[in-house]
Amino acid sequence: MRSFDELEATIGALQADPDASAAALSLLRISEEVLEHWVTARGQEPTMEEREGFRLLALHRQGATKEPSFNACRETCREIVYHYNLLHLQPDHEETTDRVEMMKMISSHLLLFVSGKMQVAELGEFCCSSKPIRLNSNNDSEVNREP
């Protein structure tokens, strides 16, 4: 797996020309690698399965299991898939250059979100009420520990 820095640099260097479809595929693969980092860091083998035809969505599902805060990038993953489809199915569309640029930004957002969560321990704990939801409801509240 390439490092986050390498992936960020690769996203920055991608161009729509000459092959927008290839650029879209590269961005999709980079996004999969980003999620592979997350899944691997949690001690799991990144899945090779697909959901709705995309491994990225299966990796997101795997990464979000018992980690609700990871759902904060659910729509980002779906937007990456959507833009991949746009570029793959309409490579010669008049907005292709902008679409590639937009997909780069969305992929970059995923990378920043995931790398941020991994770089600083517990970064992201605040997101989406993640901690209270993950806590077992039987966990004792401070209140119940009062004398």
Binding site: P68, F113, S115, G116, G124, C127, S129, I133, E142, V143
Partner: protein
């Protein structure tokens, strides 16, 4: 009773942010409510919703704090709807409602603390918590807004940014994703609908629910700035001149990191950031000061004048 009738008079819970960095959101929400003939009654002696800090130390204390706000509205003010414009407050009250309906331990802790604090224990279902978007959408709606618009937002291209807490996690928002007319958790559209009714042209914005880095702003400012920069640039690329917000944390994050991005990374993105209530207020004929445009960090006056809204 229909929502249209039920939401005409609501208990207003501004929360801490709207008394500080989000004051223009407070001002514009009240001004728009008044202009539309809707009745806001501020929750008496309201307290912090538990925000993020308390929740991460002891989630049940957060449940209690949010429950107290709902208890005051229900038991001391005889209200059945609480309207919270802040995504954090809205989210926390909804979460408390969910916990009190589904978790006996939370009920026990809330009961114990409520008795200790000397007020009635909130019981799940006593009030309905709604967002400012629900409030305007259900009472006035798009048709009602169209009829009341004095200064159309026509010609203004807007990227609607909802942030993450308005729709996540899904299970605490059982009223969403209920088909036509309801809000969507994956592609929220209430703000789009209202601003379009006021004449604005909404752009296709793929990062409308993406993380703004708000919670990371102190622990990792550079990541927050880069996340915001991405949002600003994506909105600009989508053709937007304005990012409309409905959360004080997102709004101040976008404004602050817009400045920081220019200073730290040398990337200046020219795009205006305004609360949706400010835009609606202007469309309804209110003056910029009435909706607190002067209280925003970023200066939008030149832009608004150019668009005939100031």
């Amino acid at each position: 009773m229909t929502k249209k009738d039920k939401y005409q008079k609501v208990a207003y819970y501004p929360g801490c942010a709207l008394e500080g960095t989000g004051h223009s959101y407070n001002r514009s929400t009240k001004a728009v409510g008044k202009k539309l003939g809707l009745d806001l009654v501020e929750v008496k002696n309201w307290n912090c919703c538990g925000a993020m800090e308390v929740k991460n130390i002891d989630p049940k204390i957060q449940t209690y704090l949010s429950s107290r706000v709902m208890s005051v509205a229900a038991n001391e003010m005889d209200m059945d709807v609480v309207m919270a414009p802040c995504n954090g407050c809205y989210h926390n009250l909804k979460k408390a409602e969910y916990d009190l309906k589904n978790d006996e331990d939370s009920v026990a802790v809330v009961d114990k603390l409520s008795k200790k604090a000397g007020h009635k224990t909130y019981e799940s279902g006593q009030v309905e918590t709604i967002h400012a978007l629900d409030w305007i959408k259900e009472t006035i709606g798009e048709d009602g807004l169209r009829e009341r618009v004095k200064n159309s937002l026509q010609g203004i291209k807007i990227a609607n940014y909802y942030g993450c807490m308005y729709t996540r996690p899904r299970h605490i928002f059982p009223e969403k994703d209920q088909g036509p007319g309801s809000e969507s958790t994956s592609k929220p559209h209430f703000m789009d609908d209202l601003l379009a009714a006021a004449g604005a042209e909404n752009v296709e914005f793929p990062l409308k629910t993406a993380c703004c880095g708000g919670a990371h702003t102190l622990s990792d400012s550079d990541t927050s700035t880069k996340l915001v920069l991405n949002i600003l640039k994506a909105a600009k690329l989508a053709g937007a001149e304005v990012i409309a917000t409905e959360c004080p944390t997102c709004h101040s994050g976008l404004e602050m990191h817009q400045i920081r991005a220019a200073e730290v990374f040398g990337e200046k993105v020219e795009i205006k950031i305004l609360y949706f209530t400010q835009l609606l207020g202007l469309a309804l004929g209110l003056k910029p000061r009435k909706v607190g445009v002067h209280e925003n960090v970023s200066d939008s006056m030149g832009f608004l004048k150019e668009k005939g809204l100031a």
